[in-house]
């Protein structure tokens, strides 16, 4: 299985798209009634000062149904997932969850998966872990392997084919 199965525009993804759309619609219905744009989320946002993410505006745009515009914008990928907006909203709205749904939508719509996300996705699909065992360097430039540190054998999926079959079902399922 390749990354395209999980991300491309193929037929099964239409079903996934519909599901994420439902998720966004549900969030939209939930927020439109409650958010009064106090911007407390933005005042604490870790990505605000540095990358100009404004969670209260994300919610305002969602309210107006401008979902495609956000899906196509790079701004959704600046969230650091610190969950402060979700924690501090006086109305119990979670901009961070809206952002996750928007990013999922961007991926399933066949937009490029940014940065190293595709690498770690490939790795998880292949070996079950975000990366293979790394060799590390000590401060005095000695190179050490995991087994040289007297750590037990790493735990990873014992039967990759069966492990992938489960993920395949996610990628192909008709919802």
């Amino acid at each position: 299985m390749t990354i395209t199965d999980l991300t491309s525009m193929g037929k099964p993804q239409t079903e996934q798209k519909q599901e994420i759309n439902k998720r966004l619609q549900k969030l939209k219905d939930e927020v439109s009634e409650y958010c009064y744009q106090c911007a407390k989320c933005t005042s604490g946002c870790e990505a605000h000062k540095l990358l100009e993410l404004e969670p209260h505006k994300i919610i305002a745009l969602l309210k107006r149904g401008l979902i495609d515009e956000m899906v196509n914008s790079d701004i959704i990928w600046t969230c650091m997932s610190c969950f402060k907006c979700r924690e501090r909203c006086p109305q119990k709205i979670a901009p961070v969850e809206v952002l996750f749904a928007l990013k999922n939508m961007a991926v399933v719509s066949g937009k490029q998966v940014p940065g190293k996300y595709s690498t770690i996705l490939q790795s998880v699909l292949g070996i079950g872990l975000i990366q293979d065992i790394q060799t590390v360097q000590t401060k005095d430039m000695k190179t050490l392997k995991r087994e040289e540190l007297k750590l037990p054998e790493i735990s990873k999926p014992t039967d990759p084919a069966k492990f992938q079959a489960g993920i395949m079902k996610i990628a192909m399922e008709k919802i």
Partner: protein, 288 residues
């Protein structure tokens, strides 16, 4: 009798942040804990939540199902993994339809998720299950006249709603543990600031700016070191310290430790067993 608990190491700790794994594996047995290894784990899915949240839920439920089979509770010392497992449990409890669906995926590997175990992070496990008094009993060499800044990591304390190891706005468990082993922990304004770790995946320069700003603030305030409990945060503050500092145009030489390393030091466990030779920050500055 030893307390038995499964160890879920996650990817970061078991593929590169070996100092955390070493210090967890060698410190907890001193406190009467027996860590049980389970075969077949995969990624918790948290780093992929932006790509496909369903995949995150599936991967976490899969790991939980593997642990359930052994009838054990689990210790997930990585804050990211810990959140993924807890959130999955939370979501599936509230959504039986999703639970059914996930169990259908899991049937490919002959697994079944029921959601019937307790998930701990190192912080709540030490504080709530072992207890401060018990930790104190094992201290042979206290961290006298040293003051540390604590960094909890966002995933460790938020969102409160799903149950996290410590309070979201005023976490104090790490302070209390450090005080118990002799160190001072004066508060600082940047305590809840994010390490930027997740941005390493797509906006690395910004990730380094975040960690750089925090490192700068902590060293300017005269702390002897920084303490963390998450391999993602630790990577930013320790292995990537030099680069982080350069990104915010400064120089920082701040010792950065995993909490379990400091506890182990005060218990008299030798440096190699705590992986101290693997910290790339100036940990040699701290001698006890």
């Amino acid at each position: 009798m030893a307390k038995k608990i499964a160890l879920y190491p996650g990817c970061m700790m078991s593929t590169e942040q070996y100092a955390y794994e070493l210090s967890v594996r060698n410190t907890l047995p001193e406190l009467g804990v027996q860590l049980i290894d389970i075969k077949g784990f995969s990624c918790c899915g948290e780093p992929l939540k932006s790509v496909n949240q369903l995949l995150t839920i599936f991967l976490s439920a899969r790991n939980l199902a593997l642990i359930e089979k052994e009838k054990l509770n689990v210790l997930a010392p990585c804050a990211m993994c810990n959140l993924a497992l807890c959130e999955t449990q939370h979501i599936l409890k509230e959504n039986p339809e999703m639970e059914k669906r996930i169990n259908d995926y899991l049937s490919e590997e002959g697994l079944k998720y029921t959601g019937n175990i307790k998930i701990y992070h190192i912080l709540d496990y030490l504080y709530d299950e072992i207890g401060i008094e018990e930790i104190k009993k094992h201290v042979k060499k206290p961290l006298e006249n040293l003051s540390f800044a604590t960094h909890y990591g966002c995933h460790c304390i938020r969102p409160k709603e799903i149950g996290r190891p410590d309070d979201s706005e005023n976490p104090q468990k790490m302070e209390e543990i450090l005080n118990a082993i002799g160190a001072k922990t004066p508060p600082y304004p940047e305590k809840l600031d994010c390490c930027g770790g997740l941005l390493q995946l797509n906006l690395d320069e910004s990730a380094l700016t975040k960690s750089g700003q925090k490192l700068k603030a902590v060293s300017e305030q005269g702390y002897d070191g920084l303490v963390d409990v998450c391999p993602w945060c630790h990577k930013m503050f320790d292995a990537r310290q030099k680069k982080s500092a350069e990104t915010v145009a400064t120089k920082v030489e701040l010792p950065v430790f995993y909490l379990t390393q400091l506890i182990g030091m005060t218990f008299g466990i030798n440096n190699d067993k705590l992986g101290l030779n693997l910290n790339l920050s100036a940990v040699e500055k701290i001698k006890i």
